[in-house]
């Protein structure tokens, strides 16, 4: 845990959330080709472009009408993702951010622990919406370890980022059980899940926002 990481009693304000989502948009845009390449192996080869379009809309909306609280920031971003992404990742990421935003309410400042709890609520909503479980080779395989790490006693954004990255890599040998990749059966084995990969980017952006 680096000294620039927020301590447990630090508070996170609206600018922190704007930095997080802006960093996520930059990172998704930078990695769009890689996400689409991963998706062309086991999906329909549009994850990178879809995510890039969605997060570009998020960045634009946040700039146009800057929200007044962390919760409102996440809700606005989630709404943009639901309407702009197209494909399953829109409703899933949209639900993740909206549900987390609702859990934060209208507090102007929140603690890292509150963020961890809100993200946990968002991840649970994603699991319910998609009907997926850990090990199904989905974004949950990156998100669940990340919220575990963030909510733990020594939780930090860096630890969450590492856990998400590790979780994304762990999808390589898995058999896809959800979405279009599941039609491929055994042929889905050996490919990293694009959704878990973009989830890892989203969590890594948290650490960037904290710097």
């Amino acid at each position: 845990m680096s000294s620039s990481e927020p301590a447990v009693d630090d508070t996170l304000d609206t600018p922190f959330f704007l930095r997080w989502l802006t960093a996520a948009a930059t990172s998704v845009s930078r990695e769009a080709t890689r996400l689409t390449d991963l998706d062309s192996a086991i999906g329909d080869a549009d994850h990178g472009t879809n995510m890039q379009r969605g997060f570009a809309a998020v960045a634009e909306a946040l700039e146009k009408e800057p929200p007044g609280s962390p919760g409102a920031t996440l809700i606005l971003a989630g709404r943009q993702l639901i309407s702009k992404v197209g494909g399953a990742s829109g409703p899933l990421y949209g639900t993740l951010l909206r549900r987390a935003g609702k859990a934060l309410g209208d507090a102007e400042q929140i603690t890292p622990q509150q963020l961890a709890d809100a993200l946990r609520a968002g991840v649970d909503a994603v699991a319910q919406l998609g009907g997926a479980a850990p090990g199904d080779k989905t974004m949950l395989d990156a998100l669940l370890p990340a919220v575990e790490a963030l909510g733990g006693a020594t939780g930090s954004f860096a630890a969450a980022g590492e856990a998400a990255e590790k979780g994304a890599l762990a999808t390589v040998p898995m058999l896809a059980r959800k979405g279009r990749a599941s039609y491929l059966g055994e042929r889905s084995v050996g490919h990293q899940d694009p959704g878990a990969t973009s989830s890892a980017l989203l969590i890594a952006a948290l650490a960037e926002a904290a710097r």
């Binding site: 549009d46 309407s83 494909g87 399953a88 899933l92 998609g130 979405g179 279009r180």
Partner: protein
Amino acid sequence: MTDEGEKKLVGIVLVSHSAAVADSVAEMAKGLSGGGSAPVRAAGGTADGGFGTSPELIAEAAHAVDRGAGVAVLVDLGSAVLAVKALLAEGDELPEGTRLVDAPLVEGAVAALVTASTGADVDGVLQAASEAYDYRKV
């Protein structure tokens, strides 16, 4: 329900990854239901004409067919299901009484439209559409 005046009919929305599929199923359901009077709208493909689903098109279609008696939404694959579920979870995106129907798109659309046109309530429409699953073809 049994008013002699203007009937509050259930609206039907058909969501497919393809605009052509959604449009055609809507046309076919209308044709096979004897030109039934219940409103039906297709919401196929993405807003820019590609394959996929668009929550914006879905919400638009749902409001267009809303006559105050609920809206039954039939869908095809994966992201169509997720898109509608996510809209429903938002709470205020779809007309009151909008329901996602667990039914095959084509067969369910015909059953839903015929039933809705009789003035059945949304539960009746859902049941008729989902019964399409019970008809085994082999």
